[in-house]
Amino acid sequence: MKAIFTIALRELRGMFHSPLAWSLLAVLFAICAYMFNAGVLTYQIQMVEYQSYGMRGGLPLTERTIAPMLGNAAVLLLLLMPLLSMRLIAEEKRQGTWPALACSPLSPMTIILGKYTGLLLFLAIAIGLLAIPPLTLYSFANPDTGQFLAGLLGLFLTAAAFGAVGLAASSATENPNVAAVISFGVLLMLWILSWMGNASGGVVDKMLAYFSLLNHYQNFLSGIISSADLSYFLLLSAAGLLFARQRLMAERIQG
């Protein structure tokens, strides 16, 4: 347990020692803040139009400002997470530091959990940053806090699943770039599976729809936290970690 946090903290520090993590946070925050602003402005215009027709009540604020921003943040993270996760294991092997870890009295799972925890800590920081723009809404409006928090949780779980897939890819190769390409490909495929999944409603389509990341994330954005969606993300993350563990075990045998 202590080893996991020791590795995680070093990993986190390592990320912030490279310009990658900083630039990633900057880009993520700038784009999301811009989208959020655009969303709020559009919402204002739409509200004025809506009320000019003499309609009563209003448009759902959270649905139209926070949820789209978080949805777009997930797409951004789909692009950016592979760049962050690609180094986790592959870079250590390329730099020759891997033996220092692999020869320490740690099980493969401890190393993987340490690396993954480091990534999750970074994600927590990133998502904490992304919560700032929506928080400004509270000064002049009444967003739906429940939906907002569900969205943040969904974003965290989605990005965590991205990271687990990225970690698996990073364990499968010694070249971080290859790891990034593989994880990006897998994640994008998972993301767009629902495109076919909604076609005809057959068994295969239903399965594709189930495996689609997008569908599960959408529920969180609408404020629905269901055990089905939770278990989907947890299972996907666990699958990534177990794959990485198998890779590390097999490596000792294959050489």
């Binding site: 202590k2 080893a3 020791t6 590795i7 070093r10 520090r13 390592g14 020692h17 490279s18 730099q95 020759g96 530091t97 891997w98 033996p99 220092a100 870890l101 692999a102 020869c103 320490s104 009295p105 740690l106 099980s107 000792r252 045998i253 050489g255």
Partner: protein
């Protein structure tokens, strides 16, 4: 003092159809520094990676300090310090952070951590650079940091894969002194293909060739085995024809080397007095006479391929 700290028994390892190790047996006792010699590609690194738990053997058993590496990999690794060919250095950490990090992972308890790191830095001569980033250090310091991480948790067994490669002569001398010193507390397996290094640091030597251990003995025993097949290097201004040399009793083989001749002496007769007498009597005009190579080098060449003769091994011994 006879406790076995490294025990390899019947270890084989194949990579696909290539058999890298073939039935290796090797034992290193407590407090011993064992030289692990062999030409490049003979299986030194593979053996060391198996010992360090990075690679599983195809067959055979491996134990470190009495712990089976295959059955209890994590426990076994707690007793090992390993320096791979390239030191495993995190460039963005300082020497102190780096050693502290690895010491924590290797179960050095929190209270003794600072002390363990300080001691490792002191032994490896790193105290003056403790707060420098590893990436900014010279190759010699990086190598020392690599050794320091291998000993920071006071493991029973220290495995060093060619620790002096790429260092300058002063650094090499320091590292060798350190390795000698390590022998007291730890058992050390030292791979190298630099023979003088073995003579300076090791009590025992194992020679590996094409995946097999071809010799495993004390340095003295190996050298006495080599006795009687000493090599001489002679250079004359008016050299005799090669047949004349071959007829001198005690001369085993004669091979030209540079401007002179390399003469292998065969037991029981030492041809040297006769060579010197003839040189004077026949007016060959002897200009140079040295005992070529160490006898260890001779043994090494006998045990392994003859065409492989790296430059480092050409050091003459007067």
């Amino acid at each position: 003092m006879t406790e076995t700290m490294i025990h390899l028994s019947g270890v084989s390892r194949s990579f696909g159809s290539v058999k890298a190790l073939d039935q290796i047996h090797l034992e290193v006792r407590r407090g011993e520094v064992m030289g692990f010699l062999g030409p490049n590609g003979a299986g030194k690194t593979t053996t060391m990676r198996i010992l360090a738990g990075l690679l599983a053997p195809t067959e055979g058993s491996v134990a470190v300090a009495g712990v089976d590496v295959l059955d209890h990999p994590v426990e076994a690794r707690a007793r090992i310090g390993f320096l791979p060919e390239n030191p495993p250095i995190y460039g963005e950490m300082t020497v102190y952070e780096y050693l502290g990090y690895l010491a924590t992972l290797r179960r050095v308890p929190g209270v003794g951590l600072k002390q363990a790191v300080e001691r490792a830095m002191e032994r490896c001569g790193l105290t003056s650079v403790r707060d420098r980033l590893l990436r900014n250090l010279s190759k010699g310091f990086k190598q020392r940091a690599g050794i320091a991480q291998a000993i920071v948790h006071s493991p029973d067994v220290v495995i060093l894969d060619e620790p002096t490669v790429g260092l300058d002569p002063i650094q090499i001398r320091e590292i060798r002194a350190l390795i000698r010193e390590l022998g007291g507390e730890h058992s050390v397996l030292l791979s190298t293909h630099i023979l003088p290094e073995v003579r300076m640091t090791c009590q025992r030597v194992a020679v590996i060739h094409q995946g097999r251990i071809v010799a495993d003995d004390t340095l003295d025993a190996l050298e006495s085995r080599a006795h009687g097949s000493t090599m001489y290097y002679l250079r004359w201004r008016q050299p005799p024809v090669i047949e004349t040399l071959r007829q001198i009793p005690g001369v085993g083989s004669v091979t030209p080397k540079e401007e002179g001749w390399l003469i292998r002496a065969e037991s029981p007769d030492d041809p040297l007095p006769e060579l010197v007498r003839l040189s004077a009597a026949e007016g060959w005009d002897l200009r140079e006479l040295t005992q070529a190579g160490g006898s260890l080098e001779e043994i090494f060449l006998q045990l392994t391929t003859r065409e492989e003769r790296p430059d480092e091994n050409e050091e003459s011994k007067a």
